[in-house]
Every structure is written in structure tokens, then in C-alpha cells.
Symmetry: D2
Subunit: 271 residues, 4 copies
């Protein structure tokens, strides 16, 4: 594996500064949460308000949605990004959102604090190169059939253009098992820690596709050493326009945060 930029040199670990004293990597543990898709002002504001009370500092929300079918809800686009940014501002939160088109980066720049590259675009090399020229952090999700090596090489594409503020995100791989939406490969966490200087977080929402599996897999993600979690939360999951079956409601996200904080404290003692 020919990693020059994102490999582990002198046992270094990259800590990524999101601003306002929010950091990802190193001794920091980050929780990113929010709706799968931005649907309307009320939904996103209500979610931001509640998450903020729980101490969540980064708000997720999809504005450009990569959907298998062109007939599914495609997201609100820039209108969604604005709603998301407004909600985040009101509660002093940062924004992460997915960009799919290199031509949208410039216009999205003012609304987004972390650019997300989704699973389906992990090897969209034009997009990787373009995001590599931006001076804001990038979350790079693992492709659903990507090996760890291919994933790190995709990060290398970004880093080579100058942007080394890359956060990796394990979100499940495609296997023969169809009880879950994907197979969450938590082994990727210690492997990445071993091979790379980049922080890695886990997405148990897409990784399982089932609400009742999100909490146990989040606990496992913390215990295995992940630098954070990204979780889908919706005020009313049963009415969500997308991914309702894997979104937590407010009671569940509260329980999740309580439990992972507890495990994190435990883990910290022996690390």
C-alpha cells in the first residue's frame, strides 16, 4: 500500500479542528447527529434544539440525497443547506452535509463546516480532487464494496490536493447477509488506527438500517476505539421522508449518548 499523505508517520495522529474549539481525533470523541434529510424548517430546528441540549455540537442533514431511484425524494438542495445552517447557527452548532457534484462545492461552502463524501462517491475521483482543494474538513465514507486499502487511497487523492483534514467514516459494507441493510465492519476501526493517521468515526444508522441495532452497535463502536459516531435522529421517525426505519427518536438518542459516554469513560482508563 503506497500511502504517503494519510499513513501513520512517527506514530502521529491527526486532530482536526472544526472551529469553536470542536475537534475530531486524538483524545476527542465526537457525536454528529441529525435527520437523514432536511425536510422543513420546523423539523431541522426542533432536532437541532434538542441535540444541542444533549451536548451535540455538529448537526448532520442531507440536502443532496443520493437515492437509488430517481423517483425517491431527492432532497431540498441548496434550500435544505440554508435551513440546516440556520438551525445550526441558532444553537451554535457546526454543519456537515453531503455534496455529490464538484460544481456545488463553491456555493455550498458558506453553509457547510464539514463536507461529506458519500459511500457511492468514494471513488468519484473528480469530486475527491475538487474537495482536496477546499480549506474545510472532509468526511469520507467508506464505499459499500471498498476494501480498507481502496478507502485509504481515496483519502490519499484528497490529501494530495492539499486538504489533509480528512475524517474517515465506516458505514457498513455489502455482504450476502440481508437481515441488515449493510454489514457494519467495526474491524475497520483498529485497522485504520494501525495504518493511518486519520480519525475514524462510525455510522451505525446506515451500517445496520434498523433502529433497534443502532444503540448496541454504537456501544461497540466506542469500545473498539472509534473517534466518534454519526447518528440519524428524527423528531418523528415514522414520518421521515427517508430512512425512518433507522432513525432514532429523541428518547433513544438521549439513552445512546448516556451509554456511550459511560463506555468512553471506562475505555479511557486503559488506553
Amino acid at each position: 500500500m503506497d500511502i504517503k499523505k494519510v499513513g501513520k508517520i512517527n506514530n502521529s495522529k491527526k486532530v482536526i479542528d472544526i472551529g469553536d474549539n470542536i475537534k475530531i481525533g486524538g483524545d476527542n470523541f465526537v457525536i454528529i447527529a441529525g435527520p437523514c434529510a432536511v425536510e422543513n424548517e420546523e423539523q431541522v430546528n426542533k432536532t437541532a434544539e434538542y441535540l444541542n441540549k444533549l451536548g451535540v455540537k455538529i448537526l448532520r442533514g442531507g440536502a443532496f440525497k443520493p437515492r437509488t431511484s430517481p423517483y425517491s425524494f431527492q432532497g431540498l438542495g441548496f434550500k435544505g443547506l440554508k435551513l440546516l445552517k440556520n438551525a445550526a447557527k441558532s444553537y451554535n452548532m457546526k454543519v456537515i452535509s453531503e455534496i455529490m457534484d464538484p460544481r456545488d462545492i463553491e456555493n455550498a461552502y458558506e453553509y457547510v463546516d464539514i463536507f461529506q463524501i458519500g459511500s457511492r462517491n468514494m471513488q468519484n475521483f473528480s469530486l475527491l480532487k475538487e474537495i482536496g482543494k477546499v480549506d474545510k474538513p472532509v468526511l469520507l465514507k467508506r464505499g459499500m464494496a471498498a476494501t480498507v486499502e481502496e478507502w485509504l487511497m481515496a483519502a490519499e487523492y484528497i490529501a494530495l490536493e492539499g486538504n489533509e483534514n480528512i475524517i474517515l467514516c465506516e458505514r457498513g459494507i455489502r455482504t450476502f447477509e440481508n437481515y441488515t441493510r449493510n454489514t457494519l465492519d467495526l474491524t475497520a476501526v483498529p485497522i485504520i488506527k494501525d495504518l493511518s493517521c486519520l480519525p475514524i468515526i462510525v455510522d451505525p444508522s446506515h451500517g445496520t438500517g434498523r433502529r433497534n441495532l443502532v444503540i448496541p452497535m454504537s456501544r461497540a463502536a466506542v469500545a473498539v476505539g472509534a473517534d466518534g459516531l454519526i447518528i440519524e435522529v428524527h423528531p418523528n421517525p415514522s414520518e421521515a421522508l427517508s430512512d425512518g426505519e433507522q432513525s432514532l427518536d429523541f428518547v433513544e438518542i438521549k439513552k445512546l449518548i448516556h451509554e456511550i459516554n459511560s463506555i468512553k469513560t471506562c475505555i479511557n482508563k486503559f488506553e
Copy 2:
């Protein structure tokens, strides 16, 4: 599966006109051949000259190369497209080449007769939508972890924008078997014929990754009912800048064409 544009309506079969009386689909069987990557003028001209003698009418060649590592040869870009077009013109051939960036479509338009969307970009929805607005045919490769349903929905994205001249290409899926580069899923051919009106061709070069498997798998592709083949050919495979181990030399492509013509004649009798 909610296919409106690319499904099989009234048992219809789409025949795609490439110009100069070259057609893909229906009763036509197409052979597309050429180097993995355009390397230099001599290589591409020599290949075009030889292929033309064998009756091949569509020349393939990569100018923009999606490589796992940013340190691998990335292709010659527009310079490569021009070399390819010139070689094709000299021998009255058509050109197919991969485009990875929606911003390159306009400039590539004059050099390309069929736009190729590669496996890694099968769900690059921005690219699909943009190519859907073009008035030239598109070859849509199956994603390496895409189900047949996801593949058809990707085609639907293109068709919805207006461009219904879509050719599908099975190029192998990712499985646990690592003796071959991918696992060529020939079953996709009769399934696509059953569900869709689109023609489907097979890429045994990427599908196997091994030269000695290309001929037998090509024979199987014809027998199973594919509408054509796309084959990597190089004047000197051992010196190729990419994919040399799966490229045929001139003697091998000649043998392949002889054999598949023979099987095609046989198959035609009972279809």
C-alpha cells in the same frame, strides 16, 4: 422495481444507432475493442488499423482513467481523446471513452461517439443526470457491488433526462473469490433481457482480469445472449501502462472474433 423508461414495454427491444449504419441491440452483435488506456499515437493507430481489418467498428480507449491509487497512470486526458478520435477517423471507426466529470462532457463531445460511465460512477447521480441531457449514446457499466435493480435504476436516471440511448455493460461483480479480479455475472444478461428494453454487452477483460479467461468467457457471453463484447486489446500487452495482464494481443483477438462469430451463427438458428 419502479422502472418506467428503461423497462420492457410491449416486449419492445431498443436498437441504438451509433451512426454510419452501426447499431447495437436487436439482431446486431457488436464488438468494441481497443487498449485499456490511450498511451501514444503509435499504439492507438496500430491497434485501430489491425482491429479495422478484423471488422471491428468501435474503438475503445481510456483517456480519463479511474485508478485506485493517485500514483498510478491517470490517462492522457483530452490529449488522449484526440489521439483516439484521429485513429478512429483514419479507419472509419467510432469512439467510446469514459468520462468521469460532468464538466468534461461538453469538451469531450466532439471526440466521443459513445460516452462511457464506469463502474465506480454507476451511482454518481450528478454525472448520470448530465449525461442524460446529451444526444449521444451512453454505455453504463454495472457497479462492482450493484444489484441488477440498482443498475436499472441508474439507467432510469439517465433516461429521465431525455437520453434513452443507453447500452448496459456487465463487467464483473465483487465477491469473496480473489483468483479473478471480479466475478463475471453472466446471468445478468438474460435477467436484463427479461426486465428491460436496453441492449446489454459484456466486458470479459475487467470481468476476469486474466488474459487466458477472456476468450472462454467471451464465448459464454455470446451463447447466453449478450448483444456484444467490449475487449481490451494491446499491440504488446506486456508493456501496457495499465491492465496488461488482461489485454489480448492481436493474435488472440483474431481467434476470439472467429470463435464468437461461429457461436453467434449457431445461436441465431434457434432464437
Copy 3:
């Protein structure tokens, strides 16, 4: 790969003698057909009678059925083997049937001309060793998640005990694609031909799980160079106790045999 017994030494090819001038491997092409499970005397006799008219010389039929659920039909056991043998005798056919328990081999010996080891037992090493001591041919199906290398090593277990009359059978591997029951990996045929002296046949019935895919995939199997086919046939597939949705009826098996004979003749010319 450490293959001593089943590898390709001096380019040798094993031809396996089933008796009464029936041979598998070399220049011979074999069609094995019959019901998934032996259900009753009438069903198996009717099938044998019809297949015999079509020139089929080996009758398949399950007596011991490896079913995912213990509540599914488990087969008639030795009673089924006897019915199968009687039907075969009446029409001068040979019998192939699956054995799952090493303790059943002795009692099954008189009813079976070829012992079948099923996919789920490919690495049942006790069974492999026991069947290796028998003086009748063995059909070894590929495990549903077995690499070609593991498969050949399983054959080596049998050969090491003395029984070198092994026929391999590709029957589909498990992948993420769930439109078909398995993904039929036809590439295994030329790979096995390359690495091993053993004959290899193809099972498109289990390999696809869908009746309408059996004929096209059979044609592909012949074209790719397989030494034969094993096909599920039932007088009335819609009433079959198991695998009805992948069994051919009498009209379909007739069409299949006609088509593959035609392709075989074509192939023979250039081999």
C-alpha cells in the same frame, strides 16, 4: 496451492468411466437430469422414461435432502434411493444421488453409480475421507462460499484416500445479488481446466434458482467449455415438493438439449 493428486500433470485430462460406455471428461459431454427430490414411483419413472428418450444416460434425484429448515421435506431416504435405482434400471440409466452421512455410504453403495457430495458438505472432511475409500465415482459440488483453491483442496482430500474418480460441479456462489438464488460463476470452468486434471460440469438449476435462466446459462456453460450439465427436471414443476421454481418441465429440457448439442458441435470445431 499444493495440489498433488488432482492437479494438471503433463497436461493430462482425467476421463471418468461410469460403466456401460458412459464417460465423463475428455471429449465426452454429459447431461445429468432428473427431479430435485425423489417423491414417488410414478414421478421418478415418468421422468426417467422421458429423459431416456432424449438420450440422457444419468438420472439424478435427491433421497437425502439437505434443507435449511428441519420442517421442510427431508427426502425419502433409502426408500427414495431404491425408487431411483429401479427407475434407472428400467431405462438403462445410471444413478447419481447425494449422501450426507459417512455411515450411509455402505448401504447406498448398491443403489448409486455416482456419489454426490453437496455444497454444504464440501468441507465435511470426514465425509470426504470416507468417500475417498469407495470405488465408485464422486461428484463434488463447490461450496457456496468456497474459493476455487479450497474446492480443489477438498477434491485432494478424496483423491488422497485412493478415489481419483472425481467430477467437479460449479453450482453458484453466494454474493450480495439476491435476484438469483446464487451467482453462477462460469469462470470457474476455464480456471479448473487450467489448474486441474478433473472434469467439471455445471448446475444451472441451483446456480440460478429460476427456470427461465436455466436454458441461457446452460448454453453459456457449454460455450465456456464445461464437460456437462446437471439439470433439475420435473413432470410438473408447479407441484414439486422442492425446488419447483427452478425445475424444467419436459418441453423445456427437450429444447435445452437441442440447443446445447448444437453449440457443442459448433465449439468442437475450434477446440
Copy 4:
């Protein structure tokens, strides 16, 4: 899914009694450890002595080894079982060992406290039925390409014969990722808890195939809610006759036990 015996009825959870007050399931957390293969008296005694000091109460060790190649070390057979039993006795430990042949069960009965059915035999239905008649507990490993549903149906085969003392063991599934030996699917733990009354433990040694991944994945297994772990330990992993690269040494197993106890205490508070 038609589970009658091993499903979750009235929210019941099965606790399995191994004797001498050792229990698996419910509020108990079990650590099973020992060498991949029993090699000689000194190796197994030394390991048992050390593990006993750490509080481990169940000793693992392979006597009948299912190896891909017939030329690999096949285990010491009954001689190995005796060495294992003697070592266990000396330190008041229980023995778990794999049986591959239904004919060996009777003779193995006196040496084994828990019978193990390995991954390759998960659908060896003859073996499942035979072990279902035994009055000692069974550890049923998940097949490397088995869905959770198929796994539970395999357990149902055992339970239907009368033996309901079944412990499930997740040991990794086969995927495209080849950096690890298998992909450890920890999601199986909460799924099994949801669908079944059976306890489930995790094997991170086979699940990863790499020593440095065993500790982090063990921590994750505890956090996700597993009922225990089975770990390969060797006095000198670099000289092990099999699986040395995934075996922990004495220092590592001590660290592992310390960490998982700590996480278990933490988890218990919120469960």
C-alpha cells in the same frame, strides 16, 4: 422464519449449565480460552495453568482440526482430547472441543464438556441431528457464509432432537475484504438476542485472523452485549502449529481479560 424451539418465547433467555456452577447466558459472562490445536502435553498444561490463574474456567483446544489442505496438521485426534481433558482436570476447568464426525461423538463424550460444531459443519445435518441426541451442551459456530436465519435453523435441527443446550458463536463471515481472515459481524449479537432465546458468544480470533485486532474486537463484543468470548491463546504463538498469527500470548490474554471485565462492569449498570 419458522423457529419453534430456539426462538424467543415470552422473552425467555436460556441459561446453560456446564456443571460446577459454570453457566453461560443470562447474567453470566464466559471466557473460553486455549490453543487453536492441542500440540503436546506441556503446551496444553502450561496454557491451562496460566488461564486458570486468570479465572478462565473453560479450556478450548482442537483435537480434530478441519484444515483446508489435507497436507496441513490435522490435529492429534483422541490423543489430543485426552491431553486436553487431563490438563483441564488438573485445574478444575471444563473442556470444549470440536467434533467433525458423528461417529466420534460417543468416544469423545467422556473428554468433552461442550461439543463444538465448527463453521464448515454448520449445515452438516447428520452431525447436527446426532449432537442433538447428546446430553451435553453444544457450541454452534456460524457458517462462514450463513445468514442469521440459516444459523438459527441449524440450531433448530439440534434442538428438535432434544438437546436445547445450544450456545451460538459468531466467528466472522466471508466477504470481499481480505485484509482480515473474515469479517466479524458483531451485529449478529443483538439480532440473535432479538430473535432467539439462545446465548451467543464471539470468536475474535478466527473473526479477524490478526492478533492485534483480537483485543479491540473483544472489547466491542462485550459492549454490544455478547454472553462471552472464545479466544485462542498459545504460550508461544510464533511456534504454534496452526493459527499462530491470531493467537494471543499470556501477556495479551491478561490485558484482554482486564479490559473486558472493566467494560462488562460498565455495561451492567445500564442494562
